[in-house]
Amino acid sequence: MENHCVHERTIGSNLLKNSNLSDSLRVHISDCVHCQKKYDLICHENSIIKEEVERYRASIDMKDHLTREVSLQLESYLEEVEKVAKFKKRYSFGSLKENIVSFGKGLTDPISLFILFVIAAFYLIQI
């Protein structure tokens, strides 16, 4: 029957979670044949997995494509936001200006003045 060390499980558990080993465990690994074997095996497996995971990273072409798409979408969104803000600003100021001008025009127009006079007269007669 093969001999085992009680620390093998801890080493395995730590390395599987991709977390670091404590200093005391590192000292133990250098002294224990079983733990050394286990440590080497898991490190080897981790390097295989790291290689496999790296395979899924974006290639240079894909990075260019994604960067272009993201920039395009975000910039068009930011332009849209800017346009809306400008429009709101212009619209609110423009409508105020327009109303003042139309009110002024109404006062100089003889027909409007006559209508205003009739309404005022009617109101005063009622009082």
């Binding site: 497996e45 899924y56 974006a58 894909m62 960067t67 920039s71 975000l74």
Partner: protein, 133 residues
């Protein structure tokens, strides 16, 4: 909102995760871009906080959900264990806390651990077959 930061996050993290999930570069890029668009439509101001863990968690959650929906829609490899691969990638590669991974994949922490070991072993056995070991 910094375009460069968002772009880097989509390139380095989102695409990598999406590609590991569906194992198809075009679908992965589409997934990453669609999730970004969903953020632009719903809460564009949140993209300025791209570095926060909460937003990153939300990105990965949406990518996983969208991949689960499109798995049937686009008929990607039906043998792919999406939740297992998501759990493995987020836990092992991004070292996300188990509780968060459990929320993303709608599993318990124990299930996540089992899935991580299972996906790890399947990757190792595939690799040993490929290398003829």
């Amino acid at each position: 909102m910094e375009v460069a930061k968002v772009s880097e996050f989509i390139n380095e993290k989102c695409y990598h995760f999406a590609n590991f999930l569906v194992d198809d570069d075009l679908q992965a890029s589409q997934l990453a871009l669609d999730v970004m668009q969903s953020f632009l439509a719903e809460a564009p101001e949140s993209l300025s906080k791209i570095e926060t863990d909460a937003l990153r968690f939300e990105f990965f959650k949406r990518i996983y959900k969208l991949a689960s929906v499109r798995r049937n829609h686009f008929k990607v490899d039906q043998h792919l264990d999406l939740s297992g691969r998501a759990a493995f990638f987020l836990t092992y590669v991004y070292q996300m806390p188990l509780l968060e991974v459990a929320k993303i994949t709608a599993s318990t922490e124990e299930q996540i651990l089992a899935k991580v070991v299972s996906v790890r072993n399947s990757i190792l056995s595939e690799q040993s077959k490929e290398r003829g070991l």
